[in-house]
């Protein structure tokens, strides 16, 4: 089974072409890193793979199924996603962390308190951060809380938009160890981090598909 296939994908934003003729084949379990300067469409690509950004032409297949209005909900049940912009102002850290596990689809993976604090301590998150307003936390803490949530969801296709943003080298190592040892999971991350790129199986430079090429 393939995790992601794109065929002749073209994506525009406000009628301005962003990504042109993007063809990719990502096998199940593969760790892929998407690189390229900011503004070249890395985030747009991840959003398109999740059906948040309409494609102008071409096809996206996730887990061998064409992404369209009839399959989008079913496919999103198999994904986990860390967005890049995470300065949410709604709710406490624990709401943001725990909310995904209240969805019917994820109830089976609802973590025990022990499990939550195990991963919190692994990621050097103080227990007190769990009780704080999400907006009060530092960028790196927000990032690690969401990464913990995304990891525990145990999905087959994980999309991470700049997972190393705001993290120090030690935390980056830990996050990488956490995700890269999941051999059966497909992970697509956007990153500039040399180590993340080095540990990935495949690198896609989105600039090769930028519309101005």
């Amino acid at each position: 089974m393939s995790a992601v296939i794109t065929e002749k994908l073209n994506i525009s934003y406000n009628n301005i072409p962003i990504i042109k003729n993007f063809n990719a084949h990502i096998a199940e379990g593969e760790k892929v890193v998407i690189t390229g300067d900011s503004g070249t469409g890395k985030t747009t690509l991840l959003n398109a793979l999740l059906g948040f950004v309409p494609v102008s032409s071409g096809k996206i297949l996730l887990m061998d199924k064409v992404l369209n209005k009839d399959t989008v909900n079913e496919l999103r049940n198999k994904t986990a996603f860390l967005p890049q912009e995470i300065s949410f102002t709604i709710g406490q850290a624990k709401d943001i962390f725990f909310e995904p596990f209240t969805f019917r689809q994820n109830k089976a993976h609802r973590p025990s308190d022990d499990k939550i604090f195990e991963i919190f301590s692994y990621l050097n998150l103080p227990r007190s951060s769990y009780e704080k307003d999400f907006g009060e936390l530092s960028g790196g803490q927000k990032q690690r809380i969401l990464l913990a949530s995304v990891f525990l969801l145990n999905k087959e296709l994980i999309l991470l938009d700049e997972p190393t943003k705001g993290l120090d080298e030690k935390a980056i190592e830990k996050v990488m160890d956490l995700f890269f040892r999941e051999t059966d999971k497909t992970i697509i991350a956007t990153s500039h981090h040399p180590k993340w790129i080095e540990r990935s199986d495949k690198q896609i430079n989105i600039e090769n598909y930028a519309s101005n090429n």
């Binding site: 948040f52 209005k69 909900n73 986990a80 709604i90 995904p100 969805f103 994820n106």
Partner: protein
């Protein structure tokens, strides 16, 4: 029952003379509020005289059809007002608002007038029109607050919504935090108002009833039941509007259609004071 003492037109004029005080104060401090104040008072006067005239006619005929037509006009005006004040697009919100206001108001009117006050004639203009008016006025405020919060938050926190969707939420599940915020913003003031009623101010309807000759004992019972009716009808209308509107607002991918919120927010514009 005592009759309320009428105010003669001369005495009404004497009442208007009090306006000189705020006008002088505003003028002295160069607030540029003099014109606004005078226009507001003029508008109030005209509007109330017109309404007085309508109500006289409505009460005289006391006809189910005429009363229902008036009720419907109030619902339509309320729906238009909410759309405008909450900076929403008519295209997406007018029909949901009309449906939700009509349903919530109809049900609560029926329950309140039919089962609690036990009117023989549920369309009795003296009850039906003012009660519907008070309920709608409150629906207006809570809907403006609720809808504005819901769709503004959804707009500013679209990544949170996407974060939930992409992590296995259905559309309704992903919208729960936004519903929570909208309900909190819309109903905190109402709950606070209910909890201090009678302490800080006597509510308008109760005051009116007492002036009209009712015993305080009757007036408070009406007030309590009215607060219940306001509470329920506003909650039902806000939730129902959002649920119905969401069928128009999202596309098949669960994405917000472009142009749901008007680009320039007029929601911060000064709201008319509650009287």
């Amino acid at each position: 029952m005592h009759q309320t003492i009428d105010i003669s037109y001369f005495n009404l004029f004497l009442g208007y003379l009090l306006l000189i005080i705020p006008v002088v104060v505003f003028y002295h401090f160069k607030t540029h509020l003099v014109k606004d104040s005078l226009v507001a008072v003029l508008r109030m006067t005209i509007q109330l005289f017109v309404v007085g005239l309508y109500l006289e006619i409505l009460f005289e005929y006391n006809d189910a059809w005429i009363n229902s037509a008036w009720w419907l006009i109030m619902v339509v005006v309320a729906a238009f007002t909410i759309v405008r004040r909450a900076s929403l697009k008519k295209k997406f919100f007018l029909i949901p608002l009309l449906i939700s206001l009509a349903i919530s108001l109809f049900l609560i009117d029926l329950y309140f007038l039919g089962f609690i006050i036990e009117l023989d004639y549920a369309f009795e203009a003296r009850y039906f029109i003012p009660i519907s008016g008070i309920l709608l006025g409150n629906c207006l405020k809570t809907n403006i607050l609720g809808l504005n919060t819901f769709y503004k938050k959804l707009h500013s926190e679209i990544t949170l919504y996407r974060y939930y969707l992409a992590n296995g939420a259905t559309r309704s599940e992903a919208l729960i935090p936004f519903m929570r915020e909208a309900l909190r913003t819309a109903f905190n003031p109402l709950i606070a108002g209910i909890s201090v009623i009678g302490l800080i101010s006597l509510p308008g309807m109760m005051t009116g009833q007492i002036l009209g000759g009712s015993s305080p004992n009757v007036a408070i019972k009406y007030q309590i039941m009215l607060m219940m009716a306001i509470f329920v009808s506003t909650v039902v209308s806000v939730v129902l509007t959002i649920l119905i509107a969401n069928n128009f607002v999202f596309d098949k991918y669960g994405n917000v259609k472009p142009g749901v919120m008007k680009p320039s927010s007029t929601a911060n514009r000064k709201e008319p004071r509650k009287l």
